[in-house]
């Protein structure tokens, strides 16, 4: 039972001052084993805060990140799943599923976590799963101003992943659950 937090596009301090307090109160250290961050944090203070929640943190570079040492893409294996992380501004058209599927095949992962669109998405596409945790602060994006703060918590347990989606809608935290299983044939799709 491995808990993985996926979030990104916080844009602190440029577009948002901080995470919503309701989110902050839920994120306490000790529960989460890994953090995946799609990018655009943007400053070191945010990096340190996230690091305090969990020491195992994976960040990829967004176009506004001030730390240029972050990588463009990252892959990691958790349990039976291979996860890939990329900010997503490199993939054109932004948010296009086919292009993202190309990236997924390139990285050879089961679950691809990207951001940049600031909209939550969870898609099963061409043998892989694409998850976009949205923007954790609700910061405006180049596409739209109407953004609900959201992030994702994945519970990886053997061949099964339960994805908990946390969204702040009208000041209330709403939690949704998505279940999916990895089948044996998923990887051989080429």
């Amino acid at each position: 039972m491995v808990l993985v937090l996926a979030l990104g596009d916080l844009h602190i301090p440029h577009r948002a001052p901080d995470l919503p307090p309701k989110f902050k109160s839920m994120l306490v250290p000790g529960k989460i084993q890994h953090i995946i961050c799609t990018g655009n944090l943007c400053i070191k203070e945010v990096h340190d805060y996230l690091k305090s929640l969990c020491p195992d943190m994976h960040v990829t570079r967004g176009e506004y990140d001030e730390d240029s040492r972050y990588l463009e893409t990252k892959t990691l294996t958790i349990g039976q799943f291979k996860l890939g992380v990329c900010h997503g501004h490199q993939v054109i058209p932004w948010g296009d599923l086919d292009s993202l599927a190309m990236l997924q095949r390139q990285l050879d992962v089961d679950i691809l976590v990207t951001g940049h669109t600031h909209q939550f998405k969870a898609y099963k596409h061409e043998g892989g799963v694409v998850i976009n945790p949205g923007s954790a602060t609700g910061a405006y994006s180049s596409i739209t101003y109407d953004v609900n703060p959201s992030f994702v918590l994945m519970d990886i347990d053997g061949l099964r992943v339960v994805v908990y989606v946390y969204e702040l809608i009208d000041g209330e935290v709403k939690v949704d659950k998505i279940d999916f299983k990895k089948t044996a044939t998923t990887n051989s799709a080429h």
């Binding site: 839920m26 898609y123 347990d157 339960v162 908990y164 939690v175």
Partner: protein, 458 residues
């Protein structure tokens, strides 16, 4: 049949009265504390020199009619004496031990077990190995009823109860949700359909997600329990590091630690007032060890369930000692410590005065661990078994006997305590020296009774 060498056992029988076993064991042991013992040493040495051949031939000739095997037995005995050389087991000791074993086995095989008789026999020590100790402890703790016919029913009932409790309380929330959804999935056919498209979202309540802070949330409780579980794990790693049964990376020790972890976690969850206190693992260890090494296979398999029930029963007397709020109350640890001091005063005023006033060695400094952990940290594993035999077989309860043994521990090192100052005495008491256990228990039995506990038990 009788040869010259066989004079020993007869001589022994003539010279010593009935309670041969305890007297002989009293001064034969090399670990004897010289200061406290006032028994005769001379005959002990005699016994030792005759040991190798006399014993074996005596037994063999009782069993076979012919002399032919005697040569083999000679060799065997000599080999055995080489092995036993270090522990210098004496002839009469072995005879007495065998008699004891058969007595107890006889008692335990009755249909209606006479608990009083069992208590008397057990206080003299139960034999190691075999299932006798396990069964005796279960009877003494009240886990098994006195009548043999009811055993089967009681055991299966309790084991089932334990399995149910485990399932209810120790399930991780992920497992729980998985089982819930699996039940639903079984009804739908196309759950794993590889259809592309957005994944279906299901709305869930505020309690059902891992970050939930709600009190009723299964996840929240799970994370709270992880803290206790972590402490339990840390303590279990340190339990008896010298015994392969508990420590190390073998699958056996891992399995044992896992079982003990479940027991302690379950206890902590069922008793939120006390939860888990460091040291409970030490109290559980002997029980679990004895039950899992039971020669009866069914018992050994269900050792976890049986240990849980017996652990609960054993702790029910002393559970107040672990609760911090009750420390200063009449049932708390301080009151028990003052009873110990009273007992010491009633039996040896000189030592009491020396400890209380001259050196000001407060019982809090040394006896706290003795009492709460039932002496598991003061002696080696084997001695703990023997001491617990006596503790569990006391008619007035474990706590009363425990206080007597603690007092006896003080009396046995009296001379060293009287000649020491605060620092030396404290050091001595916190690292209690090796001592002859039978002698210690004998002193404990002979103490004049603690009047305050008599009042309580009446």
């Amino acid at each position: 049949m009788l040869k010259g060498k066989l004079k020993l056992p007869e001589a022994a029988r003539r010279a010593f009265p009935d309670r041969l076993g305890s007297l002989v064991m009293g001064f034969d042991d090399k670990d004897d504390e010289n200061g406290g013992s006032d028994l005769v040493f001379g005959s002990g040495e005699e016994l030792e020199t005759f040991q190798p051949n006399g014993f074996g031939l005596d037994r063999e000739s009782d069993e076979d009619e012919e002399h032919k095997p005697s040569d083999d037995s000679d060799l065997r005995i000599r080999q055995r004496s080489d092995k036993d050389g270090a522990s210098s087991v004496s002839v009469s000791e072995i005879i007495a031990a065998d008699e004891k074993r058969s007595d107890i086995a006889f008692e335990l095989s009755q249909k209606e077990i006479n608990l009083e008789k069992l208590q008397r026999l057990a206080s003299l020590g139960l034999p190691d190995g075999g299932g006798l100790r396990a069964t005796a402890w279960k009877l003494l703790l009240g886990y098994l009823p006195a009548s043999r016919d009811l055993w089967e029913k009681e055991l299966t009932e309790n084991r089932l109860k334990y399995a149910k409790l485990k399932e209810e309380l120790l399930l991780s929330p992920a497992e729980y949700t998985r089982r819930k959804t699996e039940a639903l999935d079984a009804m739908e056919q196309d759950v794993d359909s590889p259809a592309d498209g957005p994944l279906t979202r299901q709305e869930i309540s505020q309690e059902d997600h891992p970050l939930s802070l709600g009190k009723a949330s299964a996840w929240h409780k799970y994370f709270q329990d992880t803290e206790i579980a972590e402490q339990i794990d840390r303590d279990l790693q340190r339990t008896h590091p010298d015994l392969k049964f508990f420590s190390g990376d073998s699958s056996l020790s891992r399995k044992n630690r896992e079982a003990m972890r479940s027991i302690l976690l379950l206890f902590a969850k069922l008793n939120p007032a006390i939860r888990y206190v460091q040291g409970m693992n030490e109290v559980l260890a002997p029980i679990y060890y004895i039950f899992s090494t039971d020669t009866d296979e069914q018992n050994a398999e269900n050792a976890e369930a049986d240990s849980f029930c017996c652990f609960v029963r054993l702790l029910s007397d002393s559970v107040d000692h672990f609760c911090q709020q009750l420390d200063n109350s009449s049932v708390g640890i301080h009151s028990t410590l003052s009873r110990l001091v009273e007992l010491l005063k009633a039996n040896d005023e000189e030592l009491w005065r020396h400890l209380e006033f001259t050196t000001k060695v407060n019982p809090q400094f040394y006896a706290f661990r003795w009492i709460t952990l039932l002496l598991t940290q003061e002696f080696n594993f084997h001695s703990i078994m023997r001491i617990w035999d006596t503790l569990l077989s006391n008619t007035f309860g474990v706590q009363e006997m425990l206080l007597r043994v603690c007092c006896a521990m003080l009396l046995c090192i009296k001379s060293r305590l009287l000649s020491g100052d605060f620092a030396a005495n404290l050091k001595l008491l916190q690292h209690y020296p090796e001592i002859n256990i039978e002698h210690l228990l004998q002193v404990a039995q002979d103490l004049s009774p603690d009047t305050s506990s008599f009042r309580l038990s009446m």
